[in-house]
């Protein structure tokens, strides 16, 4: 199946996962998983609860160590031992809880842990300019002031700040965990627009989502996990809602044999 996908899309994947296994005690969370993430494409990672979406994400970001399998970055094999390794490659994850400090302002949150200094003191002016530029590039313009505390932002704005924080560091792959969960209609639209803009900037984007509306609205490619196995990866245009639901709930067993063999 992997060869088919690569032939269909001419470019080389930014990140290739091959034969990834991960188990926790007796529970096999991931079983020989393959995944390709392409620059300038949004890949939606779908799957029912417990399918292994989070585990796969955490294996890529270095939170978990896979038991077997290989990860290739721009075709070269890499070992990601911790989140610092993945950050060095340019992989950033935006978790569902966003990890923002409510009492700090937008600039302070975006630079948290990587503050710029001038004569040993924080260089607020420089950080504010850089943060403003990133937000303007991503056209996150609804905030009143980038010096307002994050506590005063709406859900969509908070998500936007978390994404901007992730892409600020020359990142090349951004993984978003359920970015639209708990957001209203307009806020969701705002975040999905932001996801498209990341793609237009040439980043590889992976969106973990339950919400098939969002998936079909934004994704160029779909990858479906079922009980720890990658049952299919293909261009989004080759799916319809019905087929995705079927892959998510049955692993595609009812469909043609060639696709269920993974």
């Amino acid at each position: 199946m992997a060869q088919v996908t690569e032939a269909a899309t001419a470019t080389e994947p930014l990140l290739k996962v091959r034969g990834l296994d991960k188990h926790f005690g007796p529970v096999q969370a991931l079983y020989k998983v393959d995944l390709d993430l392409f620059p300038g494409k949004v890949t939606a990672l779908c799957g029912d609860n417990g399918a292994g979406k989070s585990v796969l994400t955490k294996c890529i970001s270095g939170v978990y160590q896979p038991d077997h399998g290989q990860v290739f970055w721009e075709g070269r094999p890499v070992h990601i031992h911790n989140t610092r390794d993945s950050a060095r490659l340019g992989i950033e994850t935006v978790y569902q809880d966003l990890a923002l400090c409510d009492n700090l302002d937008i600039v302070q949150n975006m630079f948290l842990g990587r503050e710029r200094l001038r004569r040993q003191l924080l260089d607020e002016d420089d950080m504010e300019r850089a943060a403003a530029k990133t937000l303007a590039d991503l056209r996150v313009t609804t905030v009143r002031s980038i010096r307002q505390p994050v506590a005063s932002l709406s859900g969509g704005q908070r998500q936007s700040v978390a994404v901007a924080k992730a892409v600020m560091w020359n990142s090349r792959l951004v993984m978003l965990d359920e970015p639209t969960a708990a957001l209203g209609v307009n806020q969701t639209k705002m975040v999905l627009d932001l996801v498209r803009r990341l793609r237009d900037h040439g980043l590889a984007v992976m969106v973990i989502s339950h919400n098939l509306n969002d998936v079909f609205e934004v994704a160029d490619r779909l990858a479906v996990l079922y009980l720890g196995r990658m049952v299919i990866q293909d261009d989004a245009s080759n799916f319809d809602r019905q087929s995705v639901v079927e892959y998510m709930t049955t692993g595609g067993m009812k469909r043609d044999g060639d696709k269920a063999s993974a």
Partner: protein, 441 residues
Amino acid sequence: MAVPEESPDLTVAHEAAQAEVPPELVAQTFGEYARGWLARLRAGQSGVLPVVVGLVAIMVVFEIISPNHVFLSAGNLVNLFQQSAVFMVLAMAETFALLLGEIDLSIGYVGACGGVIGVQLVQPVTTNWPWWAAIIAALAFCFVVGVIQGTIITRLLIPSFVVTLAGFLIFNGVMLILLLLGPFSGYPNLGSESTNVKVLFDLMAGTIDPTLSWIGMALVVLGIGGIMWFSDRRRRKSGLVAPPVSLTIIKISMIAAAGIVVVFISNVNRANVGTLEGVPWVVPIVLAVLVIWTILLERTRYGRYVYAIGGNAEAARRAGINLAMVRTIAFGLCSMTAGVGGLLYASYIGGMSNNVQGGQLVLFAVAAAVIGGASLFGGRGKVIHGVLGGLVIGGIYNGMYLQGLDVQRIFIVTGLVLLAAVTIDALSRRASISSSAGVGR
């Protein structure tokens, strides 16, 4: 883009968020600033305003009811500041723990140990250390004690409440042991003719020459005002978020006015017989602690991490911040600052004895920080809040003392003020949560 649906949603978000946004961030003119400030006030987000109003109320009430209206006399105001100084410094110390969402109950007696060490080391008949070495030794002792307690809290993951409660008992005992050293029957004092000892004695009440007081004040105001003016101007010029010019001018004028008032009052001859005039040394000492800790907490990486941990420890951890290190150092700095408070206490009393009420001091320190506006829940508060809260407690203490009221009434009133301050904190927190709940959080 569903534009018709989008606009009402964002409006709601903006209106609810209005009160949360500090007005200096969005205001271009003074009028806008004032309107934003009022919006925040209505939502209970008023910064130092309640404590300043409280201070003014205390002054007015006690001036009216105090016998012969002595409350606002120069002599009493200087006295009030000296009485408040220990509360202020201990409250600034406690701010480090409170910002992390922790508490340090031991600082009363740890600070007192620092005071005893300082007093003991300068005694001419025993060790006879130079005053500066004694001060360094006292502060180093306190810092190490804080680091040890902080290490137990952060590495063994034991709640700070329990660890510092144990520290409270332990250092009460240590203080009594230290007091008994040397031939002083437990009462080492600073009443010596030696100029070396007199330096410690003068920390609190020794005065600076009136002319030098004016010059020093002018330098401090010019320095702080100049930094504010040029940094605001640079930010305005480069199009960054900056307060309007008028606001910068008002802030600098207020600092200058405060400086002039303090020096003017201190330079009045306060003695009944002879002369006693000039700014007492305790004023620049408190100011120095305030300025240094404010710079550390608001202008350095370390300070940013303290706030981040208090706001969301998990976010700080994911940002690669070494939580245990930041926390441990914070407990060290907390205890070290308490050591400054202990030395001031010793200077005020003129020595040390077993009369130190370490438990009461620490409770007043926490109360002062909270009355000043620091949050007990972490992440919110500034060093200046400790100073303002310390003045409130000192003011109540002093005013009721002038009335000839017993200590039991003083406790009750101080307790009620603390209750009011915590209630304001909790209500404003609830107001801000309910206003953000409306925007889908």
